[in-house]
């Protein structure tokens, strides 16, 4: 077993407007990219569970030419709500990076 962070070059997250977050897994070889892309553990459903959001609204993009797997999900609360913990969502990738592939 290996974690996403061990099979990828880097993982990053960022807000995409106040209501969405987007996370990207950058790989540096096709073999690891395919492993993460096809993993039964790195799916829309799992990401929804991880980030407490509606699985029906999650979007997954397999960007083959860049070896990037990208997830976008609506935030359960808009950015800057009264008890915000990460305004720009820049640290939210950590949990996905820690997932077992």
């Amino acid at each position: 077993m290996a974690k996403v962070k061990e099979l990828s070059k880097y993982v990053r997250s960022k807000n995409a407007g106040p209501f969405w977050v987007t996370i990207e897994i950058f790989c540096d070889n096709k073999e690891n990219y395919e492993k993460i892309k096809e993993s039964p553990n790195i799916t829309k459903e799992k990401v929804a569970e991880l980030y407490n959001t509606n699985p029906a609204l999650i979007k997954k993009f397999n960007v083959d030419n860049l070896l990037v797997i990208k997830f976008s999900y609506p935030r359960p609360v808009p950015s800057g709500y009264r008890y915000e913990n990460d305004m720009h969502s820049g640290q939210q990738y950590i949990r996905l990076a820690e997932m077992e592939v």
Binding site: R82, N85, R95
Partner: protein, 453 residues
């Protein structure tokens, strides 16, 4: 062949343009200097209060570089989403700074202001007519929401910039605008490939981030009748098909599809070619004109007042289970607050344990070692500032002494400030993530010109 050259000096005006890179950009003979000055990334307060996140001095620094450069070459300067939030008063602030620069330097010329802040009554009428609809992930709104928002702006497209330019403006200062429209305006006006204009604008809207070296801050874009070329501003900075195409992922829900007021840009058939070490050429971008013109709305409203308290804890008993300590102090103090007759509807509070689990939501993985110390941030939100302060003061003795184990000597935790509580002022939330259908690009937009002689 029709071409348009654009100097994009920085991803966010006011963050500090690199003058050397900018000068290089001028030697590349741009037709326009186009720059974005806004964003919702830093949260709702800027929009709700109509304020800018950058200092006036830095805004003037960046505006002066742009205006002096524009004057030197006799080319226009387009600045969009003035003052972070793009409200009317922020457009006026930018105009005031620009006019100050004109006076100081003895410049003359026409300055345009384009306003896109919205009257709630106009939007309420649109709402009744069914011309406002929500985007995926938007909060539920009612007609009253438009009055609750302290400021509402609509994101403009490229047309108002083109119009202001055609009316003779050499500096165009726009209210809230899509990041791309500010940059796409001139190539569209000059008859370049519309899909390439929009796609190229999206690639360069964060400045040098689409290159492999961000020191330049800015980047150069050339749009022609087939595609667009991205070139770095500093000679040693590299730009590759990878850096250019990867930037389409950044801060974007969908990397292949971008909705603009006038239509939809698609990039899934784009081809990225390395031209030289500093340049990448892109073809295959598409633009589909929409039958209905639409503008995205942004709105924020006041939701209460906050007071914060910060206390440092290294106590081993608390460190063994920080979450239990937070749960226990919360329940214990809340009982006192209720006893004071304060209605639960009028306040709420939240603890964050920095150094433990403040940043990453969810349970801390089993086996995580106990932290050496944590910073505990208490945030109280209440109907009034005074109530938030009073509740923070009820917490105060317990933030200082609340023990993890009542059977040991009373601990005293580490406050960095006196007084320990810090009134933070009003707190705001975004309320709108909606689209309004308009009668073309100008229905919700207003123009004002000032000729400086």
């Amino acid at each position: 062949m029709k071409t348009c050259r654009i100097l994009m000096p920085i991803g966010s005006l006011g963050a500090g343009i690199n003058p050397e890179a900018f000068e290089n950009g001028l030697t590349m003979k741009p037709d326009v200097i186009a720059v974005d000055a806004g964003s919702t990334d830093s949260g709702p307060a800027y929009l709700a209060t109509g304020t800018c996140k950058y200092s006036r001095a830095m805004l003037k620094h960046d505006l002066e570089i742009c205006i002096a450069g524009g004057k030197k070459l006799g080319i226009p300067v387009f600045v969009g989403s003035c003052g972070t939030c793009g409200t009317d008063n922020m457009v006026d602030l930018f105009a005031e700074i620009v006019e100050e620069i004109y006076r100081e330097r003895g410049f003359t010329g026409r300055i345009a202001r384009i306003y896109s802040q919205q009257d709630p009554n106009v939007l309420k009428k649109k709402f009744d007519e069914g011309k406002i609809y929500e985007l995926e992930g938007a909060p539920v709104i009612t007609k009253e929401t438009f009055d609750e928002c302290t400021n509402i702006v609509a994101l403009m497209g490229a047309e108002p910039y083109i119009k202001a330019y055609e009316e003779g403006a050499e500096v165009v200062l726009g209210g809230r605008t899509t990041d791309t429209a500010i940059i796409a305006a001139m190539p569209i006006k000059l008859g370049c490939h519309v899909g390439a204009a929009w796609h190229g604008a999206k690639v360069v809207e964060c400045g040098a981030q689409c290159t492999e070296d961000t020191e330049a801050k800015g980047v150069f874009l050339t749009v022609d009748e087939k595609g667009f070329l991205v070139t770095t501003l500093l000679p040693w900075a590299r730009c590759t098909p990878y850096s250019v195409s990867a930037h389409m992922l950044y801060e974007n829900v969908d990397p292949y599809r971008l909705t603009e007021p006038s239509g939809i840009v698609t990039t899934n058939e784009a081809v990225y070619t390395q031209v030289d070490e500093r340049s990448v050429y892109v073809t295959g971008s598409k633009f589909e004109q929409a039958k209905q013109y639409t503008m995205k709305l942004e709105g924020a409203c006041l939701v209460g007042y906050q007071t914060i308290s910060l206390v440092g804890i290294a106590d081993r008993a608390v460190m063994a289970e920080p979450e239990s300590w937070i749960k226990n102090i919360s329940e214990y103090v809340d009982t006192y607050i209720r006893k004071l007759g304060i209605s639960p509807e009028d306040y709420s509070f939240n603890f964050k344990a920095y150094g433990y689990n403040a940043v990453i939501d969810g349970p801390v993985p089993a086996g995580t070692p106990a932290p050496r110390e944590i910073g505990v941030l208490l945030t109280v939100t209440a109907k009034t500032q005074d109530l938030a302060n009073q509740i923070s003061k009820v917490f105060n003795p317990y933030l200082l002494h609340f023990p993890a184990d009542p059977n040991v000597q009373l601990p005293s935790f580490a406050f960095p400030f006196s007084p320990a509580h810090i009134p933070r002022g009003a707190t705001y939330e975004f309320k709108l993530y909606h689209i309004v259908k308009t009668e073309g690009p100008f229905e919700l937009v207003r123009f004002k010109y000032n000729d400086i002689k």
